[in-house]
Amino acid sequence: MKEYRYRVRHLTTYQYGGRIDICHSIAHLSPREDDRQNVLSHRVDVTPTPFFRVDRQDYWHNGTLYFEIQGSHDRLEVLSTLTVEKQVGDPVLPLSEEAWDDKKQKLRPGDHDEAGVYFANFLLPTRTCPFVDGIDEFLKPSLSPGKDSMTLVSELMTRVYEEFAYVPGATDTTTPLVELMKLKKGVCQDFAHVMIAALRRVGIPARYVSGYLETLPPPGQEKLQGADATHAWIEAYSRKTGWLAFDPTNNRIPSHQHIKIAHGRDYFDVQPLKGLFVGSGGQVLTVEVDVERF
């Protein structure tokens, strides 16, 4: 078991085309605690200063920040800074020791995980991850009878990695899954959604995870500021293993370099920052993330 400490700085900036007079926002920016991750510190600074803010937990027990900004402004900055400690061994794939197609072993919607959350949440289709034809086609080659369910998850991760091209800008958060299955390209959110829809289709509980990924500069080069990014991956469940993380964007079992923020059914449950503002003009969004070890 090794220990790693990370400091993350995540700055989101909205530059508006016109003056904004009021804005209501919800942020999912607090890191989750679990047996692989201790949170040492976390704070969110908002500029201009909100005149009303509330910290609470959402349905999934993710830390949630609500804030209102009143008063004319043309720029909004949300800076989240956190330090975490990760304790992880080498990533190896544990098996569930259950075949994916063993009807008797299947987890039912009315069963729940160790935290008491019912699997109905993670087994039923959502608007973003519906059951569409493309998903069945995608699943088909991997569905050999008797395969260990976690082996299946891992295989599907690899297939998403191999069959989908990482192309920023090819999709946005509103691109429907059915479209994605034809395009075969996208970014980390999209790959997570494809996997989630596929796993739920075969009855494996799956959830969406948002977080950060540490990237290392090529040997001999210095790391660039703001070069890291927000990231998304998934977790799948079996009785034996509990929730296990898989990163289809990098074809990797997440280890210390993945810093988890929140989980939910899909992206829309855990959007890092969503806001509604009243005013005119467009907006330019920039996101800078720095993940550094200390």
Binding site: D21, Y118, L123
Partner: protein, 835 residues
């Protein structure tokens, strides 16, 4: 107080026979008892129809239609659950009669059901015992789009309201056993319609109503309102309660009737804003805190920040305000999940576990296809089953096995097998029939009763003594809000003296008066209602004048007349700074028919109608009639016609109705901020039109006969021919026209008078913080005009006319009015948009 029975069984059967009323073979009819006599509560009705002869049925229907129209109740159900028929759900004035004996078990059963669903709701957003103890399959609750996860910490109980007004559709089968066929929570449809029906039927059949001792519904609303007020966590003894509804702005919805009846201000989500843990109405120039919201829109959409559907208007941050107790919302915005038919198969068990009671009114026998044994039962009996989705009812239309072909049944089977846990099968019941009027006869029609109730957390459930009856138009058994049919008033007959509350009176003093608040959006639309009413009238006058020229002529030769018409068209374009399309076709045709021509009648009437619809609650029934009549004539105009000449009379009618609308409002509206904005809108519009037209007159360069005719036309368009003649006894000429329409202080159509009036009305407008009051804005112009007019009159009378000075003054006036309009927009309307 029911009338004495009508003679013998034989007499009764004869009466039914004479009216041609025959119950359907093998079906139960509510008005006929087992031995073939007329059920006692129905006897007064049959007796009454019998006495008048069945021709009276047609009369009653006509009277009902007329009353609906007069009271502005022209309800169009198209807004409801996607019915695209505008004709459906018309009112059949024949009421649905209930004896106390038949009613009490229903009241009792609905009362229990309200308690049961309140407990289910509390559990769903609370400890979820239903899931822990596996009382229902988890997917029924967690898979329904109406289960709103952000509300997990808003458990109904102490500070959060649970079931607000809810609806239950009750039907009886052949044995007389009542069943619930649908439950509607969150924002059920039909309450306003039920009230409308009561209002109308009470007027059509006042004596029958008294004879039957019909229970009144007013107390139900009084109690509901007092419950809402009691649940307010802010606002002290006099909390502000509003209805929030997101219907399309020009939709004619039952909600406006409900709001008016209950004396509650109706607002659109866009009228509300969240700040500092409170919800506020964006009123003219200020914010007013709201304490209680009665919502008649989907709870899942009402907080635009925390919902996952996009697009429709909502109030960002509303749930957050609920969390900190800053506002009370009814119903609980997560209650839509309860209407999943997925609960039905498990309801008897839920009732035993959550209430410790047996269910009094069972649901129709139902099977959840997620269970293998239930699935095989449903599939084996598919042709006699009703299949419903356990998800949102908007996503899958209920299917009746009986109505499907063999092929369709196979498709349905495949659909169910692909996702068994998504469906339930229900036994189809043969619903009982009631007498319904069809032309001049009474016929039996399948009927479903929609009952209404809410859960008062202090006093328990409250059930409305009445409801909305719905009958199928054809002899089918299916009754759904998605299908056509008639609606009925429901009379609970009683032997006691009815309660003193009466909806028959126009003003129900037991309910509060609507608070005096003009939301900014309403204010803006009132302002534009005024402007477009004036503008439409102005354009219509132009068209009339041109048609007059073409039909009667003005005693000049053809070339001259044509020149004059061209001049008039130029005047119109000039006033609106409009550039016509390259010459093609007849410009008069564009004015009359082209809905895209911004200086035409159809365009401006449509804008007028839209603004007037948005502000519907502000108008008296007579004004609404005038608005609708204007709009109907617009419909005719856009249809187009070969000849323009026949429009002469239409145009007169249109102007009459617009004048009636404006006049009625002068008479019937209270002189508040809203009225002030309407009137200011009219006057600003008129002022810009007059100054624009007079400017054109000056720069037209018309001379001699043409000048006289143009002056006359302008006087005609500004409705001032008579006054001019009385005042000057002269052929119209420019200086005199100016004298009348610019300088005359006592003539209501002069710019001078108009400015004085604007100053006067402006004082009704509230002071906007940090802004100059509009009065201040107008004063310099008023002073300028004042000092101009004296010398001007003297000069004109002395035969001197300084054209440049007049032109200059008109331009300044026009600019001032335009600036005033912009200023009002910024001060009173835009302030709200940016909040």
């Amino acid at each position: 107080m029911c009338a004495a029975p009508i003679g013998t069984l034989q007499d009764q059967q004869q009466l039914m026979e004479s009216l041609g009323y025959t119950p359907l073979e093998g079906r139960r009819d509510e008005s006929v008892t087992a031995d073939g006599s007329i059920a006692s509560e129905w006897q007064p009705l049959f007796e009454s129809v019998g006495r008048h002869g069945s021709g009276v049925l047609m009369d009653w229907r006509n009277v009902a239609t007329r009353i609906s129209r007069e009271r502005g109740l022209a309800y169009r159900p198209a807004s409801l659950e996607e019915s695209d028929s505008a004709e459906g759900w018309t009112l059949d004035p024949i009421p649905w009669l209930y004896s106390p004996k038949n009613w009490e078990p229903l009241e009792d059963g609905i009362s229990q059901r309200t308690r049961l669903y309140e407990m289910i709701l509390r559990d769903a957003y609370g400890e979820q015992r239903m899931l822990r103890e596996k009382l229902i399959p988890a997917e029924i609750l967690l898979g329904h789009p109406g289960f709103i996860r952000p509300l997990h910490d808003l458990t109904p109980g102490e500070s959060v309201v649970g079931l607000g007004i809810s609806a239950f559709d009750v039907a009886r089968d052949a044995s007389g056993q009542p069943f619930i066929v649908n439950d509607r929570f969150d924002h059920p449809f039909g309450l306003g319609l039920a009230l409308e029906n009561r209002t109308v039927v009470n007027k059509v059949l006042p004596r029958l109503f008294r004879r039957c001792g019909v229970r009144r519904v007013g107390q139900f609303f009084t109690d509901w309102f007092s419950y809402l007020s009691r649940r307010a966590q802010s606002g002290g003894d006099n909390p502000l309660v509003v209805i929030v509804d997101s219907s399309e702005e020009d939709e004619d919805s039952e909600i406006s009737f409900l709001a008016n009846y209950c004396g509650i201000l109706r607002v659109h989500p866009a009228d509300l804003t969240v700040r500092k843990g409170r919800v506020w109405i964006k009123a003219l120039s200020r914010l007013i805190p709201v304490d209680v919201i009665w919502k008649t829109m989907p709870g899942g959409e009402i907080d635009s920040l925390e919902r996952d559907v996009r697009g429709r208007p909502g109030v960002a941050g509303l749930f957050e305000v609920m969390r900190i107790g800053g506002v009370t919302l009814a119903s609980h915005p997560g209650s839509e999940v309860l209407q999943s038919p997925g609960f039905y198969p498990f309801l008897p068990k839920l009732c035993r576990e959550l209430l410790g009671e047996e269910l009094k009114i069972p649901p129709v026998a139902s099977w959840w296809c997620g269970s293998p044994t239930a699935l095989s039962h449903v599939l084996a009996n598919l042709p006699s089953m009703v299949i419903k989705s356990v998800g949102a009812h908007s996503e899958f239309s209920t299917l009746y096995g009986r109505r499907l072909s063999a092929e369709q049944l196979e498709d349905l089977k495949a659909t169910i097998l692909a996702n068994p846990s998504g469906y339930i099968g229900q036994e189809e019941i043969q619903i009982s029939t009631i007498p319904t009027s069809r032309g001049e006869s009474l016929v039996p029609r399948g009927a479903v009763l929609r009952m209404f109730s809410y859960f008062d957390s202090d006093h328990g459930p409250s059930v409305m003594p009445g409801g909305l009856g719905r009958v199928s138009t054809a002899d089918g058994v299916v009754v759904s809000t998605r299908e056509e049919g008639d609606s009925k008033d429901v009379w609970i007959c009683s032997s006691e003296t009815p309660e003193p509350f009466s909806i028959a009176t126009v003003v129900d003093t037991s309910l509060p008066a609507a608070p005096y608040i003009v939301p900014s959006r309403t204010g803006e639309n009132l302002y534009w209602t005024g402007r477009y009413a004036e503008r439409a009238q102005f354009v219509a006058k132009f068209a009339s004048r041109i048609i007059d020229g073409r039909t009667r002529g003005f005693s000049h030769d053809e070339a001259f007349e044509q020149q004059h018409e061209d001049l008039l068209m130029r005047a119109l374009y000039d006033v609106f700074e409009f550039t016509p399309k390259a010459a093609q076709g007849d410009p008069l045709g564009d004015l009359l028919h082209d809905p895209l021509c911004t200086v035409g009648i159809p365009y401006n009437l449509q804008r007028f109608h839209h603004a007037a619809q948005v502000t519907r609650e502000s108008w008296s029934p007579a004004s609404i009639m005038a608005i609708e009549t204007c709009y109907e004539s617009w419909g005719k105009m856009t249809k187009g016609s070969e000849s323009h000449f026949e429009f002469g009379a239409e145009l007169d009618g249109l102007q009459l109705n617009l004048s009636a609308f404006l006049g009625l409002n002068l008479d019937s509206m209270t002189r508040d901020e809203g009225w002030a904005l309407l009137d200011i809108g009219r006057r600003i519009e008129r002022g810009t039109l007059i100054s624009g037209l007079l400017s054109f007159l000056l720069k037209s360069g018309a001379e001699g006969d043409m000048s006289s005719l143009l002056n006359e036309s302008i006087l005609y368009i500004l409705d001032s021919v008579r006054t001019y003649q009385r005042r000057f006894h002269k052929t119209p000429n420019t200086p005199m026209t100016m004298l009348l329409l610019l300088g005359e202080p006592d003539y209501p159509r002069s710019l001078h008078h108009l400015l004085d009036r604007l100053l006067d009305i402006g004082s009704k407008l509230p002071n906007a913080s940090q802004q100059e009051h509009p009065l201040e804005f107008l004063k310099p112009m008023s002073a300028r005009l004042e000092s101009f007019v004296g010398p001007f009159i003297a000069e004109v009378e002395a035969g001197l006319f300084k054209q440049e000075e007049v032109q200059q003054l008109l331009t300044e006036l026009n600019d001032t009015l335009i600036e005033l309009s912009d200023y009002l927009t910024v001060t009173y309307f835009n302030h709200a948009k940016s909040r």
